[in-house]
Symmetry: C2
C-alpha cells in the first residue's frame, strides 16, 4: 500500500512526461485554453501618443495659462494641426496627440469662452500630463503573452490588441471514462432488486469538462472478464490520452479490472493507497504511455480520488490556476484515529472580513453521495494528525 505523498509524486512524474499537441484556433474560441506560443505584439501599445482625458492639447510653456483653440480631434478622427505658439486642440480620450503638442489639460480644469481656453485660477499644470505615450504599455516586438498562459478573458483582450486573430493552443486531452459493475443501470431505468444507477460517468465527465478537457463517456460494462478486456483494449487503441475506470479494482472475486490491465500490458505503477476514502485506487501506464486510473466504484470515493489524484495534475499541465487550498477554522471536532490520510467532507464559509470557517457535520460515510454533493471542500487531515478539534485550523481543498 502506497503512501499519499509517494503516490502523488509517481503521478506527477508521469504527467510531466505528457507531450501536448498544438492546434491553431480563432481567438474567439480561445477562452480557457492554454497558449502554446510566445506572443509578441506587432505594434506599439498604445500605437501612438494619446490623450488620457477629454480636454485640450497644448504645448507646455512656463507661465502660459491661456490658449486659442484651433481645432478638434476625436478618437479615430485625427487631423494634423501644425502647432503655433499659444494654440490648443480640443481632444477626446484615446485620441492621437497632434504633432508639436505635449500636454493635455482636462476639460474640468479650464474655462472656455468662444475659442479661448484658460486654466482655472486654482489649477497648475506640468509638461506631459495626461498623455499616454506610444509603447508605454508594451513596445513593438516585445513579448505580450507568454507560452503556457492559461487564457482567461483578460488575455483575449491583450491578444486582440496584438493582432492575434488566431492563436496556437495545446490540444485538449481526451479522457475516457468507463463505469464497470454488473449492478449498474442507466439513470432512466428503474433498478431491480440489486441494481443501482450509474453516477460516476456523469460526475467524472463533468469534472473533466470543468477542467476544460474532452471527456469521452464509455458508459457501463458488466463484471465480465472478456467484455471488459475487449472494451478496454478497444479504448486504449483509440486516440484517447487517459483512461479512467470505476469499480472492479478491489479484492473481490469479480474485480477483474486490474487483471485486465495486466493482460493488456499496462504497467502497474501503484495499486492501493493509504487514504480514506478511496483506498483501492490503481494507477498504470500503457506501452504507448496512455495513463490509466482505476478508481473505486463508490461514487464518493471516485470523485474524491479524481479531485486528489487527477485534477491537480491536469491543472498544472495546462497552467489552470484557481483558488484551490484555503486554511479554515474547524467548527466541530473531527473523528480520526487511524494513520491514513483522511479527506473529509466539509462546508466552508467566508465571513464578512474574509476569514474561513469549515464545518464537517455532514456524514463522512463514503456511501452518502447526496450529503457529499452538499459539501464544498475536502478537509485534509495528514497521516499523523489525530482527532482535530473545534477551533483548530485545517487545510481545505475547495471543490
Amino acid at each position: 500500500m502506497i503512501l499519499y505523498n509517494e503516490a502523488i509524486q509517481k503521478i506527477r512524474n508521469e504527467f510531466e512526461c505528457i507531450f501536448l499537441e498544438i492546434e491553431e484556433i480563432p481567438l474567439k474560441k480561445a477562452l480557457n485554453r492554454t497558449l502554446a506560443e510566445d506572443v509578441v505584439t506587432d505594434i506599439n501599445l498604445p500605437p501612438f501618443d494619446n490623450s488620457a482625458m477629454d480636454g485640450y492639447a497644448v504645448r507646455y510653456e512656463d507661465d502660459v495659462r491661456e490658449w486659442n483653440v484651433i481645432g478638434e480631434i476625436s478618437a479615430g478622427n485625427y487631423r494634423d494641426y501644425s502647432h503655433s505658439p499659444g494654440s490648443a486642440v480640443s481632444i477626446m480620450t484615446g485620441s492621437r496627440l497632434p504633432e508639436g503638442f505635449d500636454t493635455v489639460i482636462p476639460i474640468e480644469d479650464v474655462d472656455v469662452i468662444d475659442n479661448t481656453v484658460s486654466l482655472l485660477p486654482t489649477i497648475n499644470i506640468k509638461r506631459g500630463i495626461n498623455i499616454r505615450k506610444a509603447g508605454s504599455d508594451i513596445k513593438k516586438s516585445q513579448p505580450a503573452v507568454g507560452k503556457d498562459t492559461f487564457l482567461k478573458s483578460r488575455f483575449l483582450a491583450t491578444l486582440a490588441s496584438c493582432g492575434k486573430s488566431k492563436v496556437k493552443v495545446y490540444k485538449k486531452l481526451k479522457i475516457a471514462v468507463l463505469a464497470t459493475g454488473d449492478e449498474l443501470i442507466k439513470p432512466d431505468q428503474q433498478p431491480g432488486t440489486d441494481q443501482i444507477r450509474v453516477s460516476n460517468t456523469y460526475s467524472l465527465c463533468g469534472m473533466i469538462e470543468e477542467l476544460h478537457q474532452s471527456p469521452l463517456n464509455l458508459g457501463i460494462t458488466g463484471d465480465d472478464f472478456d467484455e471488459l478486456k475487449q472494451v478496454i483494449a478497444d479504448t486504449l487503441s483509440s486516440d484517447i490520452d487517459i483512461l479512467i475506470t470505476t469499480g472492479g479494482v478491489s479484492v473481490g472475486k469479480h474485480d477483474y479490472v486490474r487483471e485486465v490491465f495486466s493482460i493488456l500490458g499496462i504497467e502497474e505503477i501503484f495499486w492501493r493507497m493509504n487514504i480514506k476514502p478511496g483506498k483501492p485506487v490503481y494507477f498504470g501506464k500503457s506501452v504507448d504511455s496512455k495513463l490509466v486510473f482505476g478508481l473505486p466504484g463508490n461514487p464518493v470515493s471516485s470523485l474524491v480520488n479524481f479531485e486528489l489524484l487527477i485534477k491537480p495534475f491536469l491543472m498544472e499541465l495546462y497552467n489552470f490556476c484557481e483558488v484551490k487550498k484555503v486554511n479554515a477554522v474547524l467548527e466541530n471536532d473531527l473523528y480520526k484515529t487511524d494513520k491514513k490520510r483522511h479527506f473529509m467532507r466539509g462546508f466552508i464559509a467566508q465571513d464578512e472580513t474574509g476569514n474561513y470557517t469549515v464545518s464537517a457535520k455532514l456524514s463522512q460515510s463514503s456511501g452518502n453521495l447526496v450529503n457529499f454533493s452538499k459539501s464544498n471542500c475536502l478537509i485534509e487531515i495528514e497521516e499523523d494528525r489525530l482527532n482535530p478539534v473545534k477551533g483548530e485550523t485545517v487545510h481545505c481543498i475547495m471543490m
Copy 2:
C-alpha cells in the same frame, strides 16, 4: 456622481427583478447550469441494505466466531440464501445483503479454510457493522438537490442516482456586447495613424462565457449617431436580456451613446460613479426591462467595471459560487490620495501554509492592458482609506 455602494444597490435591485425562463435539458448537458426544480429521489439511496466491504455476511450472535460459507453474492448478482444458524455468505462491496443476515465481517479479519471462516483471534465484531442501510443516504421521495443549485459535477452524480436523465434548468441570459468608436478596427487589421484594435468585445464575451451565460458579439460601430441608434434599437428589439456597450459614454463631443439610450426610451438609473478606474459608467433599463450597461471604452476600465458591476450579480442570480474575495497582506505600499474607491491591479500568491500575499508593483494606469492581464486580482481600497502600506491587510477580488 454616484457612490460605489449606492450604485451596487441599484444594480442589485434590477437584477432581483430578472425573471429567468426555464428549459429542460439532458443531464449530461447540465454541468454549470442552475437547477430550476426541486429534485426528490424516486428510490431509497442506497436502494437496499448492502455491504460496505468485501467480506462475509453473517447473522450476529454473541460468542459465535466461526461460520459455514453457503454461497456468494457480488454486486448485481444477488441470490436469496435462506439463513440457517452458523451460515455465512461471501459478499462483495456494494452487494445487496441477503435476507436474515445483518453483519459483514471484512475479508482481512477472518481465516478461511475450505468452507469455514473464523474470526482472527484479535478481532471482535458487533452486530450491524459494515452495512449501509437502505435509504441511509436519503429516503425515497425526500429532496435530494434543491431548486437554484448551481450544478457542479458532484450534483450530476446525485441527479443520476435519483433517476433524473433530464433536468429543468434556468435558461442562460443572452448578453450582447457592442464596442463603439471611430478608432476601432478588427484584430486582423493593421492600424492606421489613429486607429486601435478592438479588444473589449473579446474580453467581455469571454467573461460572459466564464459565467456560463450566452454572449452575443455585435462587433464595432463607429461614433455615428444614426448608425449607433439603429444598431442599439435593433439589438434591444431582439431577444437579448442585457446590452453592454463600451466607449462613447463620457463627456466628449462624439460620445453619443448616452443620448442614443435616452432617445430610445431607456431609463437612466445612474451615470458616472465615484470609482477608479471606470468613472463614466452608465446603467439603465429599457421599457421592457432589458438592462443596459454603458462601460468606458478603455479596455482595462471596461473589464474592471464588468468585474465589479455585472459579474457579482450574474453569479448571485445563478447561485454560481466560487472563491471571490480573500484577505491578503500587502507586499508594497500603495498610492491612493483621493476619496474615490480604488480597484488596483495586484498579483496574489498563496504560501505553503495557505496564507495570501498580494503585490501591486504592476502599473496602475488603466492604459496598460498587457500589465493588467498579468494581474490576477483587484485590490479594493475603500473611499476613506488612504495610502495603505506594506504589511497591511487588504481585501482582494480574485479575477
